[in-house]
Symmetry: C2
Subunit: 347 residues, 2 copies
């Protein structure tokens, strides 16, 4: 099948670009001496995770337990979930999943650690835990190196869990002091962080310099504006993900309407909402729920109903989460249709 | 099952509120003398569409063909698709669907009308078409009353399609002149618009005053900030949709983190991103992809890991489109778990 035969809007990944991005990040991490533990939230697709592991990633990262379940179903066997897992339904699922694969979980409180420990202990297993540190992002995480050590000691003294290290997000040079103090504080208590996990894409060198042992980079696989920062930097050589859309209306000479809006692309601002590969001077100026509004006033050609365009979305992860299928193409040929198995797995 | 046993984040609809909203809009439309043709894009759930039809809606509206397929699969039999349907795969699907239910489609160009006409003619069926008018929203639609008549004449003279009327979105008082001129222009050409379709929620009286025969109101079923406008107006008596979430981190005394972020709620701005029913003075100040950041500095109580909260989302339609299931509750009891059958049906 050719891409021109796909119904639209279709989410497609260019395999040549994807393979180049995966190889490039693997080479960079090898070069600077940091282990990859790729974050799969961007693509949520087991087939792509396998490509990343084959390129050298030591296991993967999944943001939610449901995504990890989808990845284990897809054959992945070593997963970090950098997310506090809380509540009876999830603890049962975590124990079940831990029987099928090596699952490491990050926690930031004794309450959360206790819940996991109790469920694991009853099941007769041990779950390795990282302590999440708030090194400046003001999201989750314990607030000081001393608090890391206190929680690590607590974990070490509790049946059902083991202390495996620490994690933070994102990696910033300013976090170095926090990590240095944490290593020192743990050492004074006779403990060691085997894993010091940082992230994400673009911060690999910062992670290395901060003393991280691994990086959870993820968005590099597709690349896109959330990292590259400017629409002008989006291009088909660097960005692997595209939406094939159809022009469904040409109501005026300066406007066309495409058949993909916020429910295909997400409502992630700002304008221009995406980059049109074939016609970079046509700007996606607004998005309704199911329509994309394109300003063609700077274009020197006519557009027609039924014409197709390829759009690089602004937020690859949010966009991927809206689609059941990912069409993997090489040139104009469809090579695979993959299920985005982690799509919607927010539980 | 009780709501307290649901894994989180869970999207739930309060049936008492939903039923009240459905009955209220049906009564309003009966009172002012306009036919309802409810838009189902907000909920995408056939069971709710059936409740709306039972309350008096003459059929339903679906924004995309894929949503209409999901609704026909769910037993609905009279559907308007106010969207230009373009391209071979969709035309085949449209013809197949038209054999199973009465499907009316809006078009704004001869190209689109021709495509539908040809597919219908080959199949030996007739598809009723509305002409979409741009009465000021600058999205799709023909640009003048004369253009409506020209396209209507074109449709009338083409085998496979019939002219059934006109539609616009949204209904605004300023559109009245356009509609009056259109009716006059059609009349001079010996034609009549049986259907004059307007939308959406909140514009029922405007639609009636503009001369519309029907209103495609949709978001009234759930109600929410995209219509009510201010977080202060969101309340559990008016808003039927909620997300049950769990507090997964209490890192500081002025911040809690809930287990739902942009992939559960959508990235629809602005802050506060949703209204917490149990604790209105706790503000959802930011959202990561899978975390909700809640500012509790104005609250005079302590929060704990594992506690549950109910959040009214800001954009009911975008939020519904992220979830496979909708849990229908009455009080604290789960009455149904419905599949959001139209979720992700952007094709």
């Amino acid at each position: 099948m050719r891409t021109s035969e796909l119904d639209t809007p279709s989410l497609v990944v260019d395999l040549d670009v994807l393979e180049r991005n995966i190889a490039g990040m693997a080479a960079l991490c090898k070069d600077i001496g940091i282990t990859q533990r790729v974050h799969t939230k961007t693509h949520k697709t087991p087939e792509i995770a396998h490509m990343q592991v084959a390129a050298g990633s030591r296991g993967i990262t999944c943001q939610k337990l449901g995504e990890a379940e989808a990845m284990v179903d897809g054959g992945l066997d070593d997963i970090l979930i950098p997310y506090n897992i809380v509540g009876k339904p999830k603890l049962e699922r975590l124990v079940n999943l831990s029987r099928r694969a090596r699952i490491t979980v990050a926690v930031d409180s004794a309450d959360t650690a206790h819940g996991i420990a109790h469920a694991a202990d009853v099941a007769g297993i041990e779950i390795p835990l990282l302590v999440e540190m708030d090194t400046g992002s003001r999201r989750c995480g314990v607030q000081s190196p001393a608090a890391v050590t206190m929680l690590a000691q607590h974990i070490e003294s509790t049946t059902g869990v083991t202390f495996a290290g620490v994690m933070t997000y994102p990696s910033r040079a300013s976090a170095r002091a926090f990590i240095d103090e944490t290593v020192e504080s743990l050492g004074a208590a006779g403990m060691e962080a085997d894993i010091i996990s940082g992230g994400g894409t673009g911060s690999e060198r910062a992670s290395r310099e901060m003393g991280c042992t691994e990086t959870r980079s993820g968005s590099y696989a597709y690349e896109g504006m959330t990292r590259l920062g400017r629409s002008e930097d989006l291009n088909a050589e660097r960005c692997a993900l595209r939406m094939i859309v159809t022009i469904v209306s040409v109501p005026t000479t300066d406007r066309i309407i495409i058949d993909a809006g916020q429910k295909s692309f997400t409502s992630y601002p700002p304008s221009p909402y995406g980059h049109i590969i074939e016609q970079p001077d046509a700007k996606i100026s607004a998005m309704s729920v199911e329509h994309g509004h394109v300003d063609t006033s700077e274009c020197d050609r006519h557009f027609y109903v039924g014409e197709r365009l390829s759009v690089i979305p602004l937020h690859q992860g949010m966009t991927s989460n809206l689609h059941d299928e990912l069409v993997a193409i090489r040139g104009d040929e469809v090579e695979h249709v993959w299920r985005i198995a982690g799509r919607g797995r927010v539980k």
